[in-house]
Amino acid sequence: MSLRSQVAIVARLDFAEVRRSRWLLSCLFVHTLLAAAFVLVGLRESSVLGFTGMGRALMSLSHALIFLLPLLALVATAQVVNSARDDGSLELMLSNPVSRTGWFCGTSLVRLLALVVPLLVAMPLMAIVGSSCFHQRVPWEFLFRALVVGTSLLACFVATGLWISTFVRNQAKALMITVLVWAASVAFLDFGLVGLLLQWRLPPVAVFTLAATNPVQAARLALLASAQPELSTFGPVGFWLANRIGSTGLFLLGTCWPLLLGATAWLHALSRFRNRDLV
């Protein structure tokens, strides 16, 4: 049987698993709730970074999602392999003619789609409903940008979660590492790092490197790429990068860098899953 067929069969079964466990519905619920809150509260004539009305609401929602999506992705995936190992489902599946690569690819695909699809549904839905209810113009370009950045960020953290799940056998420990990874990705934005720099006199190059390599920071900058660069909103690293590589460069960095990190983590996780003892 071809690898593609194996992936399709594993994905179909895992999709049934995800659908039945209500994970897909929970994700959609969180996105919709958040979107509704931002539309209802955010559609005013005030402006944030030059964005008004629907643009402002979307801008605020995207920022909230940038902090929420990594946590959702990590929680959804950091226990995939170790829980399948513990409950015997991995043993059962791999006692059938399915390769390790087939199982890992199928499961990864479903877990990614289970997180991306609710995002791709909820945000445009919120924009359309908001625009028809409040007679606001939908900023399609920004919406597209936000969806691309969100998808790239999800891919990065889904892969990171899967990487954790292949390394850490204990599920509770995996959850703890998940929280630490998320906290680090949120803390290592340049605003927080400037505080560290002042407090502990860290070398500026270390602070710059940490901020520049953080995928959450890259995604935040990609969202802000269309705004006028200001030091107070972009932060020192973002401001420096915005002036060096420009708006398009920031957007490309914010989408490609998380994808590259995610691809590296996923390939490493796959290699480990293929070559190590399974149970």
């Binding site: 179909r12 015997g88 006692s95 399915v98 390790r100 149970v279």
Partner: protein
């Protein structure tokens, strides 16, 4: 499928899970793998399925299961002792396994019917919502519906009722391909009736292997339980080492070959004072537990 293990070992961190296992299972043979918890049975099974890699050499019809797992998986079927608690429905699971194996789902339906399980009526139920016995029947049906040359059965009937257990072994006996069977089981009746060899593991080492009749003779004792009333019965039974249990049954552990003589003597000496009698075989350590 012929199974050969030479000097097979497996170490987890600082623990030797298996040490120096040498074993040959002839094609079409039926072997019971017995041993206490933690003796290495599951590790051995996982090595055979290519899920773990260890020391030494393992060959399934000349192929190394770790290197040729995908190729061999089609020829191996496995029934785990504990069914995973999947959210997916029975329909989803059965279809996934049938598609991976390239078999029709109606073959699985037909085997399940032999266990008095109608898969169509439970198709929409999540697998985890089934009772333990039903889950095990579904897994057994999926394994026995394949054309596997090697069946690895890890306490496959532990949660089944007696009728389903009997049906399971009937289906196993009727398999046209006469597969090699490796059965992890503690049930002496299963060993007596369904396997021809026994391999005993303890602390990761193989401490005994041989014909099942020899195993039963060497490793089991009989427990005779008897209900009798009257002063004469108390004296006679006490003199022969019987102990009175809390429910009124007298109990005595005895070598298998003396069992018939003891029961005959009890009827001869006590006559109508004997109300009921029961004799069963237990493993030696189980007999000690019963006696204590």
């Amino acid at each position: 499928m012929r199974v050969e293990l030479h000097g097979v070992g497996k170490r987890f961190a600082k623990v030797d899970a298996l040490v120096g296992i040498d074993l040959v299972l002839a094609s079409g043979s039926r072997t019971a793998l017995v041993g206490p918890n933690g003796s290495g049975k599951s590790t051995l099974v996982r090595l055979l399925m290519g899920m773990l890699t260890g020391n030494g050499s393992i060959r399934l019809d000349t192929l190394d299961p770790a290197a040729h797992r995908n190729e061999l998986a089609r020829r191996i079927a496995y029934v785990p002792q504990i069914a995973p608690r999947l959210w997916a429905t029975v329909h989803d699971l059965v279809h996934a396994v049938a598609d991976l194996r390239g078999i029709e789902t109606r073959r699985i339906d037909a085997v399940a019917e032999r266990f008095e399980l109608d898969l169509r009526s439970i198709a929409r139920r999540p697998f985890r919502a089934l009772s333990g016995g039903m889950r095990q029947k579904v897994l057994a049906a999926m394994a026995l519906a394949t054309d596997a040359d090697l069946l690895i059965l890890d306490e496959p009937t532990a949660s089944m009722d007696p009728q389903s257990r009997a049906a399971f072994y009937r289906v196993l006996d009727e398999l046209p391909q006469c597969p090699t069977v490796l059965l992890c089981s503690h049930r002496l009746d299963e060993i007596r009736q369904h396997v021809d060899r026994v391999v005993v593991l303890s602390d990761g080492r193989m401490i005994w292997q041989g014909a099942s009749c020899l195993y039963l003779a060497e490793h089991t004792e009989s427990v005779v339980e008897l209900r009798a009333y009257g002063e004469r019965a108390v004296t006679w039974l006490t003199a022969r080492g019987f102990v009175l249990g809390s429910t009124g049954w007298w109990q005595c552990a005895i070598a298998q070959d003396s069992r018939a003589d003891l029961v005959a003597a009890a009827f001869r000496e006590l006559g109508s004072d004997v109300v009921d009698v029961l004799a069963r075989d237990l493993e030696r350590n189980e007999v000690r537990a019963v006696a204590s």
